[in-house]
Amino acid sequence: MKDLLKLQLRVLGALMLRETRATFGTSQLGYLWAIATPALGVAVFVVVFGAAGRRPPFGASLALFFATGMLTLEFYKKLSTALMTTFNANKALLTYPAIKESDTLFARALLISSTYLVIMFLFYGTLILLGMASLPFHPEQFALAFASVCLLGMAVGTFNAVMLSVWESWLHIESIFSRPLIIISGVFYIPSNLPPVAVDILKWNPVLHLIEWIRMGYYSNYNSTVLDKGYLVSFSLLMLLIGLIGERLTRKQRAGL
């Protein structure tokens, strides 16, 4: 049992180092870009909306409000789409008996999550230094919310990977599903202030709950009436279960191709 755990850690470690190299290239510049792109994306939005005279929907800082929405969404999207192509990218690895396809999924998810940990640390840190934000008010809630982004992203990513491996069109169908997320997830507004009829529809979207939870953790008094942690976690676990069962059932099909 102890040996198995050691082997698992060794495999994950080796895969993460390999993924780092494959994702960011050989230069440090690659890693810098990976960190800068999401942060600059938020910055552009803040500048554009700021110039248009938009007032922050909540709190005093437009940058903080958008960051809690956009960085969370970007993190989720990165996980759910990058995991999708894992199986194709790592076919050669299956020569080594110690490596299973689920390991390649875990390794990639770990790498993305740690990268986003750095991104958020730097972005929120910069806002704090510039006096545009304070430290998160409920750090334990913020940490739990971060973990639930990992969980949902991992679950949907695994599901996507399995779907793509049995059906190539899934690449396009997935993008149809994920494109409206920026509008329906509360990135630019406060879901609790919407008319009840809109909330009744939007609350099915798990990503909305991620962003609400992150904001509950960051702000002192962001009282979301929409957030349902139970729904979010059960949805994530169910997707993960379906994804992992699917992985097991379709493994043979992938090996044969």
Binding site: R21, L93, T95
Partner: protein, 217 residues
């Protein structure tokens, strides 16, 4: 010792189903070097993949109580866009080896020189085989699964692999797939004939070779 218990394996590709093994039970004794022969498509490579654990059987069990290598074949599990060095480092990490030692061994064995720092996709198949073989020899296994790999390369490389493999045979055993009677004769002391009809065990090489010839005729 590796044991197959009631193992079945089939493939279905584009609606064509192919049964490779059905309810196969066999014990690979630790003391023997086993040659595996048979026509193309009989499932020799699949057998090695099953023995290594890279692939699971449809049903039945495969038990191993020794360190078994991955199936050493031509292509190996190399990532084409990474350099030879990076690939070697990766494999040595998975197997928990001393990375420096493995790199030195492989550099020395494969004689790839500066090419070790180039992406694998720039390698010829001979270079890849040298790297793959060197890498597997750098790691100590109780049982090496070898899929035709000794048949590649120039005379010098073949001599070198032969020496390396013979040294390994002091402590380790091999299960080897080959079409070459010479190779089987020089490494193995018993064998399996795998045909579309099934699997037969031969306790000495002579009987394996004559059965193989008869099956080809």
């Amino acid at each position: 010792m590796i044991e197959l218990i009631d193992v079945s394996k089939s493939y279905s590709l584009k609606g064509v189903r192919k049964d490779l093994f059905s309810r196969l039970s066999f014990r690979f004794e630790q003391g023997r070097n086993i040659g595996v022969m048979g026509p193309n498509g009989a499932g020799k490579s699949t057998l090695l993949r099953l023995l290594s654990g890279a692939e699971l059987p449809d049903r039945g069990q495969i038990r191993r109580n020794v360190r078994v290598s991955w199936p050493l074949g031509f292509a190996g599990g190399f990532n084409g866009s990474m350099t030879g060095l990076e690939n070697v480092r990766f494999v040595s990490r998975i197997y928990g080896q001393n990375t420096e030692y493995v790199i030195n061994y492989v550099e020395d064995f494969s004689e790839l020189g500066k090419s070790m720092r180039l992406p694998i996709k720039t390698y010829s198949s001979g270079m890849k085989a040298r790297l793959a073989f060197g890498l597997s020899m750098a790691i100590d296994f109780d049982c090496y699964l070898i899929d035709e790999i000794t048949a590649v390369g120039d005379a010098n490389f073949r001599r070198k692999s032969k020496t390396a493999l013979e040294q390994k045979l002091d402590h380790s055993r091999i299960i080897m797939v080959s079409h070459s009677q010479e190779t089987i004769k020089s490494y193995c002391d018993c064998g399996l004939l795998l045909t579309h009809e099934g699997l037969t065990y031969h306790d000495d090489v002579e009987s394996l070779l004559s059965a193989y010839k008869a099956s080809c005729a």
